[in-house]
Symmetry: D2
Subunit: 138 residues, 4 copies
């Protein structure tokens, strides 16, 4: 059960379009934030998700869990912390925290996504390049 020790932090601000009539960020808005954190984790690890796609790979989300701990509001400066927690032969799991940027990080949400590895439409082994990154940083 390889597990990378890389934790990547991506800062962002809550957009007005992401708020709802309760005056807080809508719970669906967190899902693209997780995705952004995952994409930036891969980039920090040396891998552009776009390059995986060019080689025919996709990592569709097959499971999503989010726990909402405290609300986020418009213009809040937040950070998504992402880590690859578990890599199997054909799937991978990322875990996340959404925290406030300043001054002491406070957790607003934590989450998990599980991804199946697909290549040209069929379930496939995790690409070697990603496997190598995880093993190097385990």
């Amino acid at each position: 059960m390889p597990r990378s020790t890389i934790v990547h932090e991506t800062p962002f601000r809550v957009r007005y379009a992401e708020t709802d009539a309760m005056g807080v960020a809508h719970h669906s808005a967190y899902v693209p934030w997780l995705e952004m954190g995952r994409v930036e984790w891969l980039r920090a690890a040396g891998l552009a998700y776009r390059d995986l796609e060019t080689e025919g790979y996709d990592l569709p989300v097959v499971e999503l869990r989010v726990r909402y701990v405290a609300p986020a509001r418009f213009d809040d400066a937040l950070v998504v912390r992402a880590a690859l927690e578990d890599m199997r032969s054909r799937s991978v799991r990322f875990v996340y925290e959404i925290v406030t940027a300043e001054p002491r990080p406070r957790q607003l949400a934590n989450a998990m996504t599980r991804h199946l590895c697909i290549r040209n439409g069929a379930v496939s082994r995790i690409p070697e390049v990603l496997r190598a990154i995880v093993e190097r940083s385990a």
Copy 2:
């Protein structure tokens, strides 16, 4: 652990704006579908969510789980099936299925959301009107 036997079905179509570059509905698009199913479940049970809000209540999502079983595509005619599965004194849990509309429903996703009951900013007991609905249909 009261549990309503009402299962409400809300038909809808996948919007183009909800698709992504994989050619399927993006996984974040399902979250508003669940919400739509929940709002329509409440309406079918005789309760407009808007009326709860007018009385100072909110039911923010504190936990979300989605399992993605098969992809949905642009213009697919789908149905969200929603049910209230568990009601505690201050929280409530809905379960969902996203299925194809025709000809034989095929499950594309299943999900769960847990909600805390908030009134005027503080954790509160589930409103009596919702409690009565669940007890009548248990």
Copy 3:
């Protein structure tokens, strides 16, 4: 300047996810509503947008204008009225109104989108099937 006389009305409700911290539907939410109206206009005219895509066609939006007249709120029952206003050899223009459903329609927004016709990546003539629909209903 062929112009179809078909006006198609698509009913829908404002989703909670589409609201913002001002307590009204966010102005970006209207853009997928217009798209929904356009797709349903085509379907009512006998043409599934999905079938156009299968034949290699796309109608990307090259211009968008929206005038917001009055706010829409969560759960409002609205209607998008769509009409094809102008068809050129390689482009087409739709006009829209967002109105309240009941009891007397009140306009909340009006809009226009202009689309270029693309086939397999290159600018193309409007497909014959769409041209025929517009000419029949002119």
Copy 4:
């Protein structure tokens, strides 16, 4: 017709959730990008939009125009350039360009939004603090 000479540039990346089945950023995704550019313009000029809200002001969009010149794709590094082009007594107009970040900016879209000034629900004069910013930088 005061017009500020401040042009503020906000860098961002296209999110996967913002793409559509054509493989490009969906045209509705640009609208929150414009909003982000506008909010950052205000911040650069010394004014947090959130502070305007605290004082009871809102600047709802009453008109939106976007011209889409070339497609944006997932993970593209883009910049939104925003400028306040026209300030009337009770309304304000922003203009925008969406350009590629590197190496030579190429325009992907240009846009305009017009905003009415609302205070505590009624049309109001533009707040003095914003008026002063525009006049200082005219």
